[in-house]
Structures are given as C-alpha cells and as structure tokens.
C-alpha cells in the first residue's frame, strides 16, 4: 500500500533520516519507535507526501507520490501538534477537513458528529478548539484524520496527552480503522497493539 526505499530526509540543515525503507501492506499496522530527535515527525510528514524527500521516493500503491500528488488524498496524518484551526470549533475542524477532501457539507456534518462521538469528544463539539484541554484537542485531531477514511493513516504520537481511559479509546479507534496505519510512538503499549514495530535509530 505504502512503501519507500532508501529514503532520506533533511531537517534543520542536516540529514535526519537516511537509507530508510518501509513496506506497509493494506490494513497492516506498523509502529515506528525511536526517541525524540530521531526524525519520526519528519519521516511521517515525508511519508504523508507533505515534504519532499532529499533522496528516494515514496510510493502509494506502487505509484510515485512525487509524480502523482493527487495520491495524497489517500493519506491522512495526525500531526504531533494537532494542527487544528484555533478559530473553529471541534466539529467545524472535522467538517472543514472533510469538505476540503471534497465531501458535501451535510455529509461532512453527519460524519463529523459520528466520529467525534466515537472519540468521546462530542460533548465539546461546539466548543472552540482553544477551550479544550490538550487531551481533548488531540482526540479531535485524531477524529479529523479518521473521518477522512483514507486507506493509509499516519499518526504522530496520537496518545501523548491521553490519560489511561482515553488512551484506550484512541488506540481502539486507530487500530480498528481498517486501513494501513503507521503510528510513531514512545509508548510500548501502542507497539504491542500493532502488527509490526520498526525501530529508528538517530
């Protein structure tokens, strides 16, 4: 589904990832582990097609992402810093992403409500994002990615702010999303739930 070979990424002036290879089959769940500073965020962002690699190619279904930017629509990314629009409510954030992806506004509203409910933030659906706690915001970010229902889901530390109860909810939704999943994490609990673990060394 998603693969790359001999991928290299530059960040902050130096090559932070080099010679990386990965193959993710459809529906496979891969945990990307490594300490912070090892380039997980940069790697995920590159895999999502949002950053150009300095060497190598990212392939989606065998097609080069660089040559077919439309394939980006097959990937959804949960940012480490959430990337939510501060002037919108939780529901609006999800709706905006859906509409940006081409869905009809009423369908977007319905889907957003459903996914927010699943992530246990529907009580805050009409609150501005900046009024939510860190954990709640993170769940909204996850909801946003999930709502897009893309074949590939990339998640950067999606449970960092969650307490025990909510962590389970988030992980459950991510793991049961159905598509391929690449999740960058510190948390061994997450790694255990995945099919495969890839270690990144700085």
């Amino acid at each position: 589904m998603l693969s790359c070979e001999d991928l290299a990424c530059r960040a902050g002036g130096r090559e932070i990832i080099s010679g990386f290879r990965l193959e993710v089959a459809p529906g496979e769940r891969v945990a990307l582990m490594g300490p912070s500073g090892s380039g997980k965020t940069t790697l995920l962002t590159t895999l999502a097609g949002l950053l150009p690699p300095s060497r190598g190619r990212v392939l989606v279904r065998g097609l080069s992402l660089a040559e077919r930017p439309d394939l980006r629509a097959e990937l959804a990314l949960v940012f480490q810093s959430y990337g939510l629009l501060s002037s919108l409510t939780a529901a609006e954030n999800v709706e905006v992403a859906l509409r940006a992806a081409g869905h009809h506004p009423s369908e977007a509203m319905d889907r957003a409500a459903v996914v927010l409910e699943r992530l246990k933030v529907s009580a805050f659906a009409d609150h501005l994002v900046e009024e939510l706690s860190g954990g709640q915001q993170q769940r909204v970010a996850v909801a946003r990615a999930l709502a897009l229902r893309t074949p590939v889901l990339l998640a950067d530390e999606p449970t960092a702010e969650q307490d025990a109860g909510h962590r389970g909810v988030v992980l459950k939704e991510l793991m049961e999303a159905g598509g391929a999943l690449v999740v960058a994490t510190h948390d061994p609990e997450v790694a255990e739930l995945c099919d495969r673990v890839v270690e990144l060394r700085p």
Binding site: L51, S87, P105, E130
Partner: protein, 997 residues
C-alpha cells in the same frame, strides 16, 4: 540582550518604531504648521493692506537716523529705511502750497515725461499739472537763498508721472492726482521733487523754518513671520507714545491691520489644535495596539523571568525596556519626520513661507509619546500580572473585550457630542464652532465601538449558511472574522480614521464651494479692476470707450456703510455681474436691473462765474423780505453748497450773485431752491408770525460764462422737473414762501427712495450715497438673499441716480470696473490708455485663495491632509495586523492544505477575511463621516469673519468622496490580494517542518 531581543522581533520592533514615530511627527507638525500659517496670515493681511498700513513713516525735525535706529532696534523684518526730507513751498503765482520733497531713490519710482531727474541743487521736477513750467524757473514766497536774501530760483528740469499710484515707496499719501491730464480741474498740489543738496542751498522763512526729516519703514513681506505680530503691535504702541513724548511723529494705519491679523490668528489656533489633537489621539490608538503587541510578543520571556523569581522591579524592567527604547528612539526620529512632513506641507500649501520650529513642537511630540508610554505600561502591567501559568497553556484563553470600557467611552462621546452641538463648551464665538471639528472623531469612535460588537454578531448570522453550503473560503473567513483577535482593533482604528477622512473630504469640498459662492458675491464679477477715484460720469465714459459693446465691462462705485451701496450702470451690470435667480425668488438679473434703472432726465448744469435770477413776486410788506437761496452741488466738494442768490423786496426782482469759483471751470449742478421770510425791522418787538404765504415765481435763470449771459434750462415751466413746496407753471417756478413751513423745492431728478436691489432689510436706514452723507433712502424693488458686490445689508442702485443725489465723492468710495471672464487684461489696458489710474485687479480666484488662506481655511486643509494620511496609516496597520495574524496561523493553515484544501479555498479564505474586516471598518467610517458631516458641517469654522451674505450652500461634492471611497476600496483590494499571495507562499507545506512551539 535587549538589542538581541529587538533584532529577534525586528519586524514588530520596526513597526512599533514607525507607528511611534507617527504620533510624534503629527504632534510636531501642528505647532510648525500653525507657526507657518500665522506667518501666512500676517503676510496676506499686510499684502492686502493699503500702502500706508504696511509700515511706519517716522518724521522728525531732528536726527532721523538715530530716531529710526532706536525705533527699529532688534527688528529684522523691515526693509532698509527710505529717507527723505519734505517741506512746503508757497507758489505765490498760483497761491498754492506745494510740497517739496526729496526721497531716497525717488527717480526710480517716477517716469520722466520730459526732461530728466534733478541732479544738482536748485533743480526740481514737476508733475504734469505744472507741465507748463518745464524749463522755466519757479520761485516760492517762503524760500530764499539765504536769510534776508532774494527769493530762491529753482529750475524745472523735468516733468514726471508716477509709475504706480499704489507704490509702497510713497507710503500711500495720495500725493498724486488721480486723473492725469485732467483739464479744467483745479490743479492738485502735487509735489515738486528736489535733490537732497537743495535743502542746504536754500533757506526757509515764514512759519515753517525747517525741513522735516522722515524715514519710511516698510515691512518686508518676505521676512516678516507670524511671531513678529506682537513685535509689530509693540512698535505701533511705541509709535503712538513717541508722538506724545518726543518731537518725532510716526504715522501708520497699522492699527486696523494689527486687529485683523490678531483676529485671524485667533481663528487659526483653536481649529488647528483641535485637528492636531484628533490626529494625535488616533495615533495613540494605533500605538496602543502595536506596543501592546510588542509586549505580548515577549510574554514568554517575561513569564520566564517571573518563573526564575526575578524581583517585580526586574520583571517590569524586562517588560518595558524594549518598548521604552523604541519610544525613546522614536522621539528624535519623529521630530525629524514631523519637521520634514511640515516642510513638505508648507512647501505645497503655503509657498514662500519659511519653516520655523517653535518650542511647542518637541513638547507636543513628547506629549504624543506619552500615549505610547501609557500603552507600554498598561500592556506590561497586564502581562506582568497575569498568572504565569496562563502562559504555558497550550492555547491561551482569549479575553472578551470589556463592556465597561465601551460603556464609559460611549457615555463620554455622547456627552461630548451633545455639548459640542448644542451649547458649546468653548463659549467664544469662533471657539464654539471650532469644537465642531472634534465631532467627526468622536462620532467615528462611537460608531466604531458599536461596529466592533456588531460585526461578529452580523457575521455569525451567516455561519449556518456557510456550514450548509458554499465554498470553504467563506466558511473559514467568516469564522476568523467573528472569533479572531484582530477584528475588533482593526475596525476601531479603520472606522475612526476613515470617519475622520470622510468628514474632512466632505468639509473641504463644502467649504471650497462656500468660498466660491462667497467670493462670487463678495467680488461681484469674475474680475474687478479698481481705479483711482474719478467723477462717476468720467468713469462711465471711460468704460464706454473701453467696451463699446456694453457686454464686457461695467462701472461700479462701492461705498461702505452700515447699509452698503453699490452704484452701477444697470444694463452693463446685467452682463457682467454674478447672479443667482434662486436667491432672488426666481427673478432673473435682467428683470432686477430693469427695475432700478433711472429714466433719462435733464439736469441743470451751471458753468460760469455769475448767476442771475428773474423773480416775480407779489408785493411784499415793507417789513418783509424774502431771501432766496439756491443749493448747488460743486464738484470736488462734499456736501450741498447753498448760495444766497436773491434778496427780494418790492415786486419784481432781477438779482445776480456769484457762483462758487469751482463752477467757472467745472460743471456745478442746480439742485434746489429755498425761500425764507425775513423780517426787516428789528427795533420793534418782533411782530407776530404771519401765516401769509407768498408765492415767489422764478421766471428765468441765467448764467454768465466768459462774459456771456446764457439762459439755463432748469425746467422752470415743467412741473415734472420740480418737486417740493411749489409748482412749475407756464409763468415759471413758483415757490411758496411762508413763515411757518420750510419752503424748498428741488429738481426732481431722483425719487425720495431709490429703487434698488436689496439684500438684508435696510428698513429706514439710508444708503451712504456717493458722498457719504447718508441722504438717499432706498426702496426694495428687487429683494434678494445675495447680490453681487454686497457683503452685508446693502442696496444696488443706478449710478445715475446715485450721482444725481450726491454732493461730491467720499474718500471711502471705491471705484471699480467689473469685467467678464478673461477680459481683465484688455480692459485694464484700455482704461490706462485713457488716463485712468489702475490700483489693482482682483480675480475671483484671488478672493477664493484669500479665504482659503485665512485661519479656518488653513486648519481645514490641515485636517484634510492629515486625515487622509491617518486613513492610509490605519489601512496599513490593519493590513499588517491581518497579515501577522494569518502568519501566526501558518502552521494550521498548512495542515488544512495537507487535508486537501486547495489553494483557491485558502486564498478565498484569506481574501474574504481581509475584505470583510477592512470593508466593515471603512464602511463604518464612511457612515460616521457622513453623519458627522450632516450634523456638524454647518458649525465648523470656515471664515475668519463669517459672511452674512450670501447664504452658504454647504454642498458636498460627491466626486471627491467617491474618490476617497474608491481609492480606499482599490488600495484595500490590492493590499488584500498581495497579502493573500504572500501568505499563500508561506503556507507551503514545508512549513510543516516547524513544530509549533
């Protein structure tokens, strides 16, 4: 470390610096501009003043050099003194006192018709009135070669003509005759010019033994400045004292000028400072917002300092140093910028005026900066007091704008508006109106505060719509506007600045229109040529020769008074003068002038040396006699001259009497006849008054000229030509003389009340008449709200009537020729060719410029220029704030782009957000400005002396307002597009590299 911090936030620091420079600069501009305006006022008033009001003439019989030096000590705005000497010489032959003058550099101001300028002692030059003496020798009864010697003989070596009558060189003493080459006129005593050495070559005898030394001290208009006003006043006061204390006498008509200058300067200061105050307040607003941004940008570092436990003093110092440093830097830079800006403004608006920087300018700049100080301290306070933990919340809580502040400000604004528009805080007449200039800012601020509450609510109303359909752009933009932090501040500043600008444009166009209308009616015609005084019929004749078509020029005589009088030829007037039928109840000028025309009527001219009356009367008692008197008007004399022509006793009398000498060469006019009963016996107790009426019939009237008797056609048999206590019949003019009534009868060349075009309500007041004797009443044949040539209550009458009523010409009468557009040069030439002396030519534009150059006009100009600048600034700041806010959201917008939002949606979002914010601000400002115009326009000061007529139209020209709006819209759209593009470039996906701090 401070510098590193400033560099780190260099964009914001630079913006703060620029925005701090602005209030300092604007505050500094005020006093500089005011000083320059005062200079303009002083110079313009002096320029418009007559020559004898533009300086002093210092005369003394002693040492004039020392006296002048003392008088002018420390003064630098005078021309170098022009010295002269003067005395009187008695020309025995003509029995005339002739001034003998030498003035330094006199020859340059005289044109020699014949001969040359005097060079040696005992040489003189004479005016054309004495042209016959060219080449001959003249002697004076009181001038001898030496004491006890023979009469000095002075040789006439030339005949001069003055180059210009209004030349300030002569200090306007009216030394020269007004009509050159006047024939038959008694020779005016025009001066003989001598050389300086002549005074030592001759000796004066008689009552006046000494030459008078004088010096003409003219004020140099290129050097005098506004601040010299008080010096001039002091010198004038000193001049008066000098006259009392020493043997020097100083002449000047500066008193009126000084009064005018003071009044105008007075009308300048208050409006100017109101304008500057508003600008500074606006700049404070800007500064408040921006310095706040700067301090908030350091909030993280300030929080760290508090965390580390630095003392409160240190934390404050930490928070304040950057903004204070920038403010301190802004002060000198702002002063320099203000000076440069003032330089530009003065160069453009008040050409020729030098730039001086009064001490108040830096003070004003410092006061303006105080606003920035307040802003810095307030922001630092808030930041230093905020719980530190707030800083580290992932997204800080937003504070809602307080209701309290809004309510307080609105209350103050409301109070202020009520005060300004009804009673008036500043009770002085011009001051009260100057307060009206503050109305737009107050109103705009109030509406702005309302708008910043309303806009989010209004935008929210469309949330549902954009949620259900439409593009992402509108969806995002609306929410950003409603919930964003930039909106409120931007609206306030844009609305206030635009309100001010809109009002300024409205006020300016309306005022220009008022100036034009006022100038039209005050001047009367497109161009007005003022000429030296001549007889009305000579003026009319000259105009007729210069313009045979009668379509281009009209003779006009203006006499000031409590009821002004304009006397003119109605037919010519129709083609030349300004008129507004709407102000005259729909009556056109031709109709109006038709109503005031004097019908042709023969007048009884008397030219000769003797008059003879043939009078028939019933036999008079022995003790009674009738004294018959004739009233004549004698040219060049003001007032009726009563000539007792006959003393009647017995039955038929033929009496003769001498006419006044002037009538020998000039045309005198028979105006009226009067009879008085006289009691001959004195010794007896006075007899009872008799009620008898004696009819005295004047059968014939004859005049002797050059020895020949000729009958005068005085209409003695035509009853229509006489009115009064008597009647004309075929036997002659009968005058009923009695003891009880005044028996007079006058030539009916004019009615009791002249038909006139009238402005105001003269009531019973008479017009001054050409002679200034207030003898003529007027009847409002054509009333109007505004008439050409009248600046107040007044009447326009036929010059013919005015001439018939008048006895002589008053010195305050102004003689003008009104010409149509573009004809001034031609007519002026034609008039001078005929010998008329032209004093000045005033065009409509000159008068308009004069109004615009008065105090209030200058203040309004300042308002216009500065308000437009403020609007540009506010727009710039808003665009900048929108840009910065969007820039801070780069990361999340990039994330949105990553989710698939196209560039088009993002661009739309950015564009719409900016356009709504800027549009709302501008619209509010526009509304506020127009409302303010509606409410306050008629109260703002426009004239130094508000005219009583014409009624001011206060028409706001839509063009400039549309231009302002259109320009604003254009700039906003362009800026929005540019900013969106720049932002979009920044929202490239590789922004995602940066993790949000």
């Amino acid at each position: 470390m401070i510098l590193r911090g400033l560099w780190e936030r260099r964009t914001l620091s630079l913006i703060v610096l620029i925005i701090a420079i602005i209030p300092v600069a604007s505050a500094a501009v005020g006093p500089i501009y005011a000083a320059a305006s005062r200079t303009t006022v002083v110079r313009e008033v002096l320029r418009a003043a007559p020559a004898e009001a533009r300086g002093w003439r210092y005369t003394t019989s002693g040492d004039v050099g020392a006296g002048v030096a003392a008088f002018t000590r420390g003064v630098d705005f005078l021309h170098p003194p022009v010295y002269g000497i003067e005395t009187q010489g008695l020309l025995a032959a003509e029995d005339m006192n002739i001034p003998l003058i030498w003035q330094e550099g006199q020859c340059a101001h005289l044109r020699m018709i014949e001969g040359r300028c005097p060079q040696a002692p005992l040489e003189v030059i004479v005016s054309e009135a004495f042209g016959d003496k060219m080449g001959k020798k003249v002697t004076f009864a009181n001038i001898v070669t030496e004491l006890g010697g023979a009469a000095a003989e002075l040789t006439v070596v030339g005949v001069y003509r003055p180059i210009s009558h209004g030349d300030p060189f002569w200090f306007g003493r009216g030394m020269f005759t007004t009509v050159e080459g006047a024939k038959g006129d008694q020779r005016r005593a025009e001066p003989f010019f001598v050389t300086r050495e002549t005074s030592s070559a001759i000796t004066l005898v008689g009552s006046k033994r000494n030459w008078t030394n004088y010096a003409i001290l003219g004020i140099d208009l290129a050097k005098v400045e506004g601040e010299d006003l008080e010096t001039i006043a002091a010198m004038q006061a000193g001049a008066v004292a000098l006259g009392r204390q020493t043997q020097a006498a100083v002449f000047s008509r500066l008193d009126d000028v000084i009064k005018t200058m003071r009044a105008q300067a007075g009308t300048l200061s208050v409006p100017t400072y109101v304008v500057i105050g508003q600008l500074v307040a606006l700049a404070w607003l800007l500064l408040f917002q921006t310095v706040g941004d700067l301090v908030r940008a350091r909030s993280q570092e300030i929080a760290l300092a508090r965390l580390r436990g630095h003392s409160l003093a240190r934390v404050w110092r930490f928070a304040l140093t950057e903004p204070l440093l920038l403010l301190a830097l802004a002060f000198p830079l702002g002063l320099l910028a203000g000076r440069a800006a003032a330089d530009l403004m003065i160069g453009a608006l008040l050409p020729g005026v030098p730039l001086t920087v009064p001490a108040t300018a830096p003070l004003a700049g410092a006061a303006a900066l105080a606003g920035g100080l307040v802003a810095a301290v307030a922001s630092a306070w808030r930041t230093a007091r905020r719980p530190v933990t707030e800083e580290w919340r992932r997204t800080p809580r937003r504070t809602r704008p307080g209701w309290v502040i809004d309510a307080v400000v609105l209350a103050l604004v409301g109070l202020g508006l009520v005060e300004l528009l009804t009673a008036g805080v500043i009770s002085d007449a011009s001051g009260q109106r100057a307060g009206a200039l503050a109305v737009p800012a107050l109103l705009a601020l109030a509406l702005a505060l309302l708008a910043r509450r309303l806009l989010p609510a209004l935008v929210r109303a469309f949330f549902g719509l954009t949620r259900r359909r439409g593009g992402l752009g509108a969806f995002l933009a609306l929410r950003q506007v409603a919930r964003g932090t930039v909106t409120a501040g931007s609206i306030v500043i844009l609305a206030t600045a635009f309100g001010l600008a809109t009002f300024a444009v409205c006020a300016w166009t309306a005022t220009i229109g008022n100036y034009a209308e006022t100038a039209r009616f005050h001047l009367g015609a497109p161009s007005v040529i003022e000429v030296t005084p001549v007889r009305p019929h000579e003026l009319a004749e000259a105009v007729r020769k210069a313009d045979p078509s009668a379509l281009v020029a009209a003779p006009v005589v203006r006499v000031p008074g409590s009821v002004q009088m304009v006397a003119t030829d109605p037919i010519r007037f129709t083609s030349v003068a300004y008129w507004d039928a709407d102000l005259a109840a729909g009556r056109q000028i031709a109709d109006a002038t038709g109503l005031i025309r004097a019908p042709a009527m023969p007048r009884a001219w008397l030219t000769g040396d003797r008059v003879r009356f043939t009078v028939n009367h019933p036999s008079l008692r022995q003790d009674l006699a009738v004294r018959l008197m004739m009233t004549v008007s004698v040219p060049s004399r003001i007032g009726p001259i009563v000539v007792p022509v006959a003393y009647l006793t017995g039955t038929r009398s033929v009496r003769e009497w001498n006419l006044p000498p002037a009538c020998r060469t000039e045309r005198c006019e028979l105006r009226a006849l009067r009879g008085e009963l006289d009691y001959l016996s004195i010794a007896e107790p006075a007899p009872d008054p008799t009620s008898e009426v004696f009819g005295v019939t004047i059968a014939k009237l004859e005049i002797r000229q050059d020895g020949v008797w000729r009958e005068v056609d005085a209409g003695l048999t035509r009853s229509s030509r006489w009115t009064g206590e008597g009647e004309a019949s075929q036997d002659g003019l009968r005058l009923d003389v009695s003891d009880l009534t005044e028996s007079s009868i006058r030539m009916a060349t004019f009615p009791e009340e002249l038909p006139a075009i009238v402005t105001g309500v003269p009531g019973r007041s008479p017009v001054p008449g050409l002679d200034g004797l207030n003898a003529a009443g007027v009847k409002a044949a054509a009333p109007t709200w505004a008439a050409p040539g009248l600046t107040g209550t007044g009447a326009i009458v036929d010059l013919e009537y005015a001439d018939r009523i008048a006895y002589g010409l008053h010195s305050r009468a102004r003689f003008e020729v009104w010409v149509t557009e573009g004809q001034a040069a031609r007519i002026t030439e034609a008039l001078t060719a005929q010998g008329l002396g032209v004093l000045s030519v005033t065009h409509l534009a000159d008068l308009q410029a004069r109004f615009a150059g008065e105090g209030p006009g200058l203040a309004l100009l300042l308002l216009l220029v500065s308000a437009l600048a403020a609007a540009v600034l506010a727009l710039g700041r808003t665009v900048l704030a929108l840009y910065s806010s969007a820039r801070r959201r780069r990361y999340e917008l990039a994330a949105l782009a990553a989710s698939g939002a196209g560039l088009r949606s993002l661009r739309a979002a950015l564009l719409v957000e900016q356009l709504i914010t800027v549009g709302a601000g501008m619209l509010t400002g526009l509304g506020a400005g127009m409302l303010a115009a509606r409410v306050a326009l008629e109260r703002i000061p426009q004239f130094a002396e508000p005219p009583t007529t014409p009624p001011l139209p206060f028409e706001i020209a839509p063009g400039p307002v549309a231009l302002l709006v259109g320009g604003g819209v254009l700039v906003s759209v362009v800026a929005a597009v540019v900013v969106s593009e720049v932002l979009l470039r920044g929202i490239q996906v590789d922004r995602l590299r940066e993790a949000q701090a």
